[in-house]
């Protein structure tokens, strides 16, 4: 029952969020501010995670492919495919769920308990639209951008580690990565990423927007935002794979 109640409330919040803005110019300005917070400020952590994921995938793949009849190009192919199809869209968005999700829930939760959201409502401002819509739109643009950067850095990490550790030559790695690339894989990864971006931003916003009580509840809302976003990312990862592949 509780699940249905929260799902209903979540849908009602989305309905309130996607209504006509009071002032379009101010909302556009807010989208850029949120793009900075969600996208630009997450670049560092995404870069670190991606480079290491690519490097480790190369080493792991080389370690498992010991048969002499298997070409080295397979390493490049596996690293590239797994990065584009799964590692970047899923691992990187799980990291983003932790960073962006907790940030959104804490910000909105604090605004809720300090009556800032009530103040907006009393002024006749659609607080859900003003606060949440720019976050969702910014996430829908910035998370895919981050994931494309993550893909590039992850493959680059694999390439560099493969080259310096000697497990695969640069030519074989690049040939493998290039030969196995399919545009569909990339499109599918983007579909997943956009879905995950929506889930992270909207679920975290829901947790923060309806926080009640004091600082402990805001902390709980932030934790719930990260946990629920992560679980939903994994669930939708499976559902989308089943649907498209």
């Amino acid at each position: 029952m509780n699940l249905f109640y929260h799902f209903g409330e979540y849908l009602l919040l989305l309905k309130k969020t996607f209504t006509k803005p009071e002032h379009r110019k101010i909302y556009i300005k807010r989208i850029f501010q949120e793009a900075q917070a969600i996208g630009v400020e997450s670049l560092g952590i995404i870069a670190i995670v991606s480079v290491f994921v690519g490097a480790v995938t190369t080493i792991n793949t080389a370690y498992q492919l010991v048969a002499s009849w298997i070409s080295d190009t397979v390493i490049g192919s596996i690293v590239s495919d797994s990065t584009i199809l799964e590692l970047s869209p899923t691992i990187a968005t799980l990291v983003l769920a932790g960073k962006i999700g907790s940030n959104i829930a804490t910000e909105l939760g604090t605004m809720r308990i300090s009556e800032q959201i009530d103040a907006m409502e009393v002024m006749g401002v659609n607080s859900a639209g003003y606060l949440i819509l720019p976050k969702i739109i910014a996430a829908l643009f910035m998370v895919p951008a981050l994931i494309i950067i993550s893909m590039f850095l992850s493959i680059l990490g694999g390439y560099v580690v493969g080259m310096y550790s000697g497990v695969v030559s640069p030519e074989h790695f690049i040939n493998g990565a290039r030969d196995s690339f399919k545009i569909f894989t990339f499109v599918f990864a983007m579909i997943k990423t956009v879905t995950f971006a929506f889930l992270i931003s909207s679920v975290s916003a829901y947790q923060g927007y309806y926080a009640e009580g004091g600082s402990i509840e805001v902390g709980k809302a932030s934790t719930k935002a990260v946990v629920y976003s992560s679980v939903l990312i994994l669930l939708f990862d499976y559902l989308l794979a089943q649907l498209f592949l």
């Binding site: 009071e22 002032h23 101010i26 605004m111 300090s114 009556e115 800032q116 009530d118 103040a119 409502e121 009393v122 002024m123 006749g124 401002v125 659609n126 003003y130």
Partner: protein, 251 residues
């Protein structure tokens, strides 16, 4: 004028407001008093639309808020200014941006016009020149004054203040009370003020409503409240008389 008819509000099984009727007149400071948990804040939040009542009507100059559609309510809210207990300033904005916020969203004023209006409102609450400070750089009294400046930015017809004196020293409390009274007279607003401070009730109140356990127990003027026979109300008022009656020792 705001007219409240048979207002009932429940949270789960608990009935917090049990059918309150009240009339708040224009240009007057209407004080709502009552002990903690009497329902004052819930009553105010129902009137401003933050809580939906189970039963009853709230008429803003004859317009029934409860029966309004979402768009109509949003429009009416532009006529409402509210000072929250902790001022509820937006902490991502500085003083100027806080006051400009309702103007930017609800008017077609140019940047220069908004700036002029913000300066006027800040000057009105004696905060001229404090435009660029952030809410965490100013004192509690200043935060309340910024809250008042933001509340009056759109020249509201209805002004609500939820415990404007809480957490303030007696002198700053007087400044805030005086300010609210002046604004009520100048703008001819219908002002509703939730308070525990009997000094401000006696000095600045025009009409007093006493709530007890979700019911209207008494209403009248400051003169009438002094001579009330209601034992519970007398106990409530005179519990707060210590500060008023204490005079400095003469030597």
């Amino acid at each position: 004028m705001i007219e409240v008819q048979g207002l009932v509000k429940k949270f789960g099984d608990k009935e917090v407001l049990k059918g309150i009727d009240a009339v708040f007149e224009e240009g007057k400071s209407n004080m709502i008093i009552g002990s903690s948990g009497s329902g004052k804040t819930v009553f105010m939040k129902c009137i401003v639309g933050l809580f939906a009542p189970e039963k009853g009507h709230i008429l803003f100059d004859g317009r029934d808020y409860v029966a309004m559609k979402y768009g109509q309510k949003k429009k009416l809210h532009q006529e409402i200014g509210m000072l929250f207990q902790n001022a509820a300033l937006f902490d991502s904005m500085n003083v100027e941006e806080n006051v400009a916020f309702p103007l930017q969203l609800h008017t077609k004023m140019t940047k220069a016009e908004i700036s002029k209006r913000v300066d006027f409102c800040l000057d009105r609450v004696n905060l001229a020149g404090e435009n660029l400070k952030s809410p965490d750089e100013i004192s509690g009294g200043m935060r309340k004054r910024v809250g008042i400046a933001r509340a009056i930015a759109l020249e509201p017809k209805y002004l609500f203040c939820d415990e404007p004196n809480s957490g303030l020293d007696p002198l700053t409390s007087q400044v805030i009370d005086k300010l609210i009274k002046e604004i009520t007279i100048d703008l001819k607003t219908t002002s509703i003020i939730n308070t525990h401070d009997m000094n401000s009730v006696m000095e600045y109140g025009d009409h007093i409503l006493y709530l007890h356990q979700g019911l209207k127990q008494w209403e009248g003027s400051p003169d009438e409240i002094r001579n009330t026979n209601d034992a519970r109300l007398r106990e409530f008022i005179y519990a707060a008389q210590f500060t008023k009656d204490t005079k400095p020792a003469s030597n």
